[in-house]
Subunit: 194 residues, 2 copies
């Protein structure tokens, strides 16, 4: 792995666990066993590093998202949705730093003034919501999901699932303990009303 990638990895970890302002370049330098000044040979500014980190997270997430619905067959749309919810929780468990970073305010505030940041963030959120929306539409066609705006339903489901993940991020409650309840709620709110 190149030094540049090492720096990115270290910065990703520190930005996620400590926050943008709280993480110092000196720490990144220490973690990568390099001089602080070398970081600015590879990157122009601290913010540039953050943008690069966010972009790699976005790329990695999109790659994982792609395989979520394409890898297998589903008996109906509802099964797709269950799979997505489980996958989201799984992704959050195996990549906690991604979600710690996304659950911080900094990226959202930077997005308001920085197009590159805005694009990465939007791609991630739209990616997930699109997945849920696709699954809901499929379910509406095969009759396993109730009618209504698929987009809005997708957003509410996403809000719920991400809300539970956030309980984990903020150490309020273990997400796994809510798994069954979450999945059940998801089914109830989407299934046709008998």
């Amino acid at each position: 792995m190149s030094k540049k990638d090492e720096i990115l990895r270290a910065a990703a970890y520190l930005f996620a666990t400590k926050g943008f302002k709280e993480a110092s370049m000196a720490e990144v330098a220490a973690m990568t066993a390099t001089a602080g000044s070398n970081i600015f040979y590879h990157f122009k500014t601290k913010e540039d590093i953050f943008l690069a980190v966010l972009k790699t997270i976005k790329d990695d997430m999109l790659t994982q998202m792609e395989s979520l619905l394409s890898d297998q067959q589903f008996t109906c749309g509802m099964r797709m949705i269950e799979h997505l919810v489980a996958s989201y929780l799984g992704m959050a468990e195996s990549n906690p730093n991604w979600f710690m970073l996304l659950h911080r305010s900094y990226p959202h505030e930077l997005a308001a003034v920085n197009p590159s940041c805005r694009e990465s963030l939007a791609a991630i959120y739209e990616g997930f919501i699109d997945l849920f929306e696709r699954a809901i539409r499929a379910g509406q066609e095969d009759g396993s999901v109730t009618k209504g705006s698929a987009r809005k339903k997708a957003m509410v489901v996403f809000a719920m699932v991400d809300g539970v993940v956030r309980f984990d991020t903020h150490h309020l409650y273990e997400a796994g303990a809510l798994y069954d309840e979450l999945m059940n709620s998801c089914q109830c709110m989407l299934k046709p009303s008998a």
Copy 2:
């Protein structure tokens, strides 16, 4: 209003809109038309100000929460839940700074090492979740809500509602536009399955 309260108000605004590290005491001083040093006559450290801010928010929130279920009669538990969801959205709309502050990572990270912060945060979250839990229990008794762990159901509902509020905070989507869908999802996931 005393200078001390003015400082608290200004700090509350800045901590909410900019974040703890990003808000400087010089700004607080400017907003309250006082010298920077005077702030440290009223408070020992910046962190103390944050704790005081969080405590007043907690107190104000708990006061509002108390009146939520006691002010009126409900025909059934499900109506209570609907009322709580609507009230939560209303509270977020009329006090956006409260939720901006709570949706930041800083308070949760400080809570890990500071008992006062931990108490305030826990009181707020437990307060809300207790309200939902009470409503769900009431609904389970009168038959308007399905059986199962009231606590877990309350947490999932809270995660969903707060997740939607967060869309607002982070400028991802207007919460009001999801109101109907949110309320409907809430009803579907809690009502007995026919």
